[in-house]
Amino acid sequence: MDPLLKLEGLSVHFSGLKALTNVSFDAYAGEVRAIIGPNGAGKTTLFNAISGYSQPTAGAIYFKGEAIHGLTPHDISIKGVRRTFQNGGLFPELTALENILAGLHTQIIGGFFGVILGSRAAREAEREGIARARSLLDLMDLEFLADQEVKDLSGGQQRMVEIVRTLATEPPLLLLDEPFVGLSPPMRTRMMEIIRKLAGEEGIGILLVEHAIDLVMSSSDVIVVLSSGEKIAEGKPEQVRENREVLEAYLGYA
């Protein structure tokens, strides 16, 4: 099987600071791949590089065999790589429904003049978008929050709405930046089920950055360990757990 995402010798340096050095791995459709590592290991920089928010200093990123390094964040998103943000990427003053609608932006047709003049086609496209957004919220049992501004939602609800928004266009690859942070134990279990389901049933490739090691061990197929910007290990959870270098770098065992 061809990899969905291929990183080749990826390096990102910020004026002397080596955030990532020579990182390579392949990610596949239907696979949950966790990126772990201590603070400052370069996990978020890796996400930023893949999604176009940081430019690689060296190396290459291929998505479905096509080079995507150097593209803008919106072009990479249009190609089918979507991400969430560590500190929440929702639009706080917009309702949950409007957030999902913004996620559907590229799929709602209707040109500028059609919109201005309120043409039938533009209004129909908008109505279809609204129906689609409501059904997406319904899928995650969030329909009752549709008309709430997201700044009034709990942290867990916000994470859920953000995931729904990211999934709205059915992207083949999803980057989840710390999806479990701020969730209560039952919500974590729920989130884990959702992630497993997206990969297993929908065949979506998932890359996730996470600190909670127990959740990573039980929810991912493959783990990539970063330390000081370099990949120090890659493998199945049980392999990584046994890896001495990982234990030293990440878990602090001697």
Binding site: H105, E143, Q157, R165
Partner: protein, 334 residues
């Protein structure tokens, strides 16, 4: 799952949508009621009503950049002046009919908006953007003053009598109907724009620009759109202002003027079209009312602004929102 309990009890969305659609009809009734104003107003009040229409467009346009896009860009007097001078110059020197000059004012105002957007796109934001756009406005005023071969400098440029498709706009009443038509069309168009994916992209950029790009939205394009739309609408307001005052002076587009525009946006409510109109009505009518207290006018004017901002930080429109959710403008159209 205790976290999924909503602060508000769930209601049937279909029912809510249907009743909201019915209530929104009041927005169509308001312009119809306005048609009766010339029958009850004397010439002075009619002039005030016309000025309110001009300032409604000024505020609606300005609010797109300030409220919806959330950028502190103060080039509004530049757009306003460009619209007014474009209209006057084209009518005086090219004999262009008024309605065509209005379209030209929209185009030139939109170009001004595009220029202002370039600074924001270059990553100049917040107070840097504020100061650079204020400078743009002052630069334009300096130009009107010194290009006196064309603009007649501080004497002002006298407008020929405008006409609307053959009907001479010879008194305040005719002007009112023409202005009302233009204002209603542009407010409706702005409302359509804001309640579409375009308007959502603009407010999304305000709330979180990086996340907006992550949804495949070309953010630069929508920053330009917001500025150009704002410039075009305010440019048309300038064309109406030229017809209203019949003589275009550089001093009409000074720094004080942009402060008044900004106050209208804040007093009415940022990011709200209804609020923009309320702000324009309040801050156009009140100074006239306060004229009966000579020497105290500015004091009262200032007190009103301070009180509204202290007690209604979301503007006068928040009072209406307490009455009905229909005044809670959303960014989609069902």
């Amino acid at each position: 799952m205790n976290e999924q309990t909503s602060p508000n009890p769930p209601s049937n969305p279909k029912e809510v949508v249907a009743s909201m659609t019915r209530m929104r009809r009041i927005f169509y009734v308001l312009p119809v009621i306005a048609l009766a104003i010339p029958f009850v107003a004397n010439e002075y009040l009619q002039f005030m009503a016309n000025a309110i229409l001009v300032y409604s467009l000024v505020t609606v346009g300005f609010n797109v950049v300030i409220g919806n896009l959330g950028q502190l860009a103060f080039a509004n007097t530049a757009f306003f002046g460009l619209g007014a001078y474009t209209t006057a110059i084209l009518m005086v020197y090219a004999g262009m009919p008024y309605m065509l000059a209005v379209v030209a004012a929209a185009v030139v105002g939109g170009l001004g908006g595009f220029l202002a957007s370039v600074t924001a796109l270059r990553g100049i934001r917040l107070y840097y953007l504020a100061i650079i756009t204020l400078a743009f406005g002052e630069l334009m005023r300096w130009t009107y003053l010194h290009a006196d071969g064309i603009t007649h400098g501080s004497d002002g440029l006298l407008m020929p009598q405008p006409s609307f498709f053959g009907i001479a706009m010879e008194n305040e009443t005719v002007k009112f109907y023409v202005f009302l038509l233009i204002t209603v069309v542009l407010i409706k168009a702005t409302s359509n724009l804001m309640r579409s994916r375009f308007g959502r992209a603009i407010v999304a950029i305000r709330d979180n620009e990086a996340a907006t790009a992550s949804l495949g939205i070309h953010t630069a394009r929508y920053i330009i759109l917001a500025f150009v739309w704002s410039g075009a609408v305010v440019g048309v307001a300038g064309a109406m202002f030229a017809a209203l005052t019949e003589r275009v002076f550089p001093e009409s587009f000074s720094l004080t003027e942009v402060i008044v525009h900004f106050a209208m946006v804040l007093v009415g409510g940022t990011g709200s079209i209804i609020g923009s109109v309320l702000g324009a009505i309040t801050l156009t009518a009140l100074p006239e009312y306060f004229r009966q207290f000579p020497g105290m006018e500015e004091l009262f004017f200032g007190i009103v602004i301070v009180c509204v901002l202290l007690f209604l930080p979301k503007g006068l429109v928040s009072l209406l929102r307490r009455v009905s959710p229909v005044f809670n403008e959303r960014y989609y159209r069902d």
